[in-house]
């Protein structure tokens, strides 16, 4: 009798969990430095909540801490999804403070920025292994996507069984080549967009609702 009661309670707990109001899913925005991750995070957050996530810059590693915008509810084609957007620092395997000196930065500031950047990348990797439910992988469509960091990151995401959408950003620029990205990662859907200009955001939101809803 006790066994049956326990079994019934277990089944009830599982079904309650399955049909309970879902917690917002944490969607990590990942990609190499300067792909436009923060511009995209700000675009999504502004479109659906009116607020931004963080400052944007052409200098690499402007985002040096993972930043979260909670409870962003996106509605498209009858589908509604509530997500927490996690904007992460651009992932790389090397950070040299001397690169920042080219951006009119004093050495002390450049060293401080590089230290913060390394901490941010380590944090982003940790988030990827432990704390995200899905990934938007942002690539600059004017650059070669076939880099080691991209290959490794996509491999890591796949090994975690996380749903992933690849966003080919900066399609407003003449050098943009979306096909190069879809050819590099044919196993995933590639969505073209310009986060800066707001181009193709309807499809972006449709895909977010479809993949993460």
């Amino acid at each position: 009798m006790g066994l049956l009661t326990n079994l019934r309670d277990s089944i009830t707990r599982v079904t309650d969990r399955l049909f309970a109001d879902e917690e917002p899913k944490r969607i990590g925005i990942y990609g190499p430095p300067n792909a436009g991750k923060t511009t995209l995070a700000n675009r999504i957050a502004r479109d659906w909540t009116g607020d931004a996530v963080g400052p944007e810059s052409h200098i690499p590693h402007e985002t040096r801490r993972a930043r979260r915008k909670e409870n962003v509810t996106i509605e498209r084609n009858g589908k509604t999804v509530t997500i927490d957007i996690v904007d992460t620092p651009g992932v790389t395997t090397k950070v040299d403070y001397k690169e920042f000196l080219d951006h009119d930065m004093e050495k002390d500031d450049a060293v401080k920025r590089s230290r913060e950047a390394t901490e941010g990348v380590a944090e982003a990797m940790h988030w990827l292994r432990e704390d995200v439910d899905g990934v938007i992988y942002v690539l600059d469509s004017t650059t070669d996507p076939f880099t080691q960091v991209n290959t490794m990151l996509i491999g890591i995401i796949e090994s975690q069984d996380l749903p992933v959408l690849i966003f080919a950003n900066k399609v407003d620029l003449d050098e943009s080549d979306v096909k190069r990205i879809s050819d590099a990662f044919p196993q995933h859907e590639t969505v073209p967009l310009s986060a800066l200009e707001g181009d193709n955001m309807d499809e972006v939101y449709e895909k977010i609702a479809e993949y993460f809803g």
Partner: protein, 133 residues
């Protein structure tokens, strides 16, 4: 229990030392031992070539640990190259729960970021320029 160290058999002098590490040697190491083995060599200015590569989780940890060790004017990180995987086995959650994860079999080259530069990479060729310290 294999030691997570490389044999110290002398100074490379003006040359660049290459450590070619077999899959068998890496197999007996824990993830952190592998990462330590790689980073200790790379921080000494050596180039490490792994016969069998790292798993995605180990690659993720390698990036994380590398970031914590970067310091100005001393170590600026790593350059890493593997052949692109032409077949991505999507094993799924059950396969991994049942411990059926396949070991990656991809030759991997890792070196100090300030000494190694990838010149060309495709499915079956990695061409790199290695400079002295």
């Amino acid at each position: 229990m294999p030691e997570a160290t490389t044999p110290d058999d002398g100074d490379a002098g003006d040359g660049v030392r290459l450590d070619l590490i077999s899959g068998a040697r890496m197999e007996g190491l824990t993830s952190m031992e592998k990462i330590r083995l790689i980073l200790d060599s790379v921080r000494d200015g050596d180039i490490v070539v792994l016969e069998a590569g790292l798993s995605p989780e180990e690659e993720s940890k390698l990036i994380e640990v590398t970031m914590t060790e970067i310091s100005p004017d001393d170590f600026s990180g790593i350059e890493i190259e593997t052949y692109p995987s032409t077949h991505q086995p999507n094993q799924g959650l059950m396969g991994r729960l049942l411990g059926k994860e396949e070991a990656p079999k991809k030759l991997t080259v890792i070196g100090p970021a300030n000494q190694i530069e990838t010149l060309h990479k495709d499915e079956d060729l990695i061409s790199a320029l290695v400079s002295r310290r």
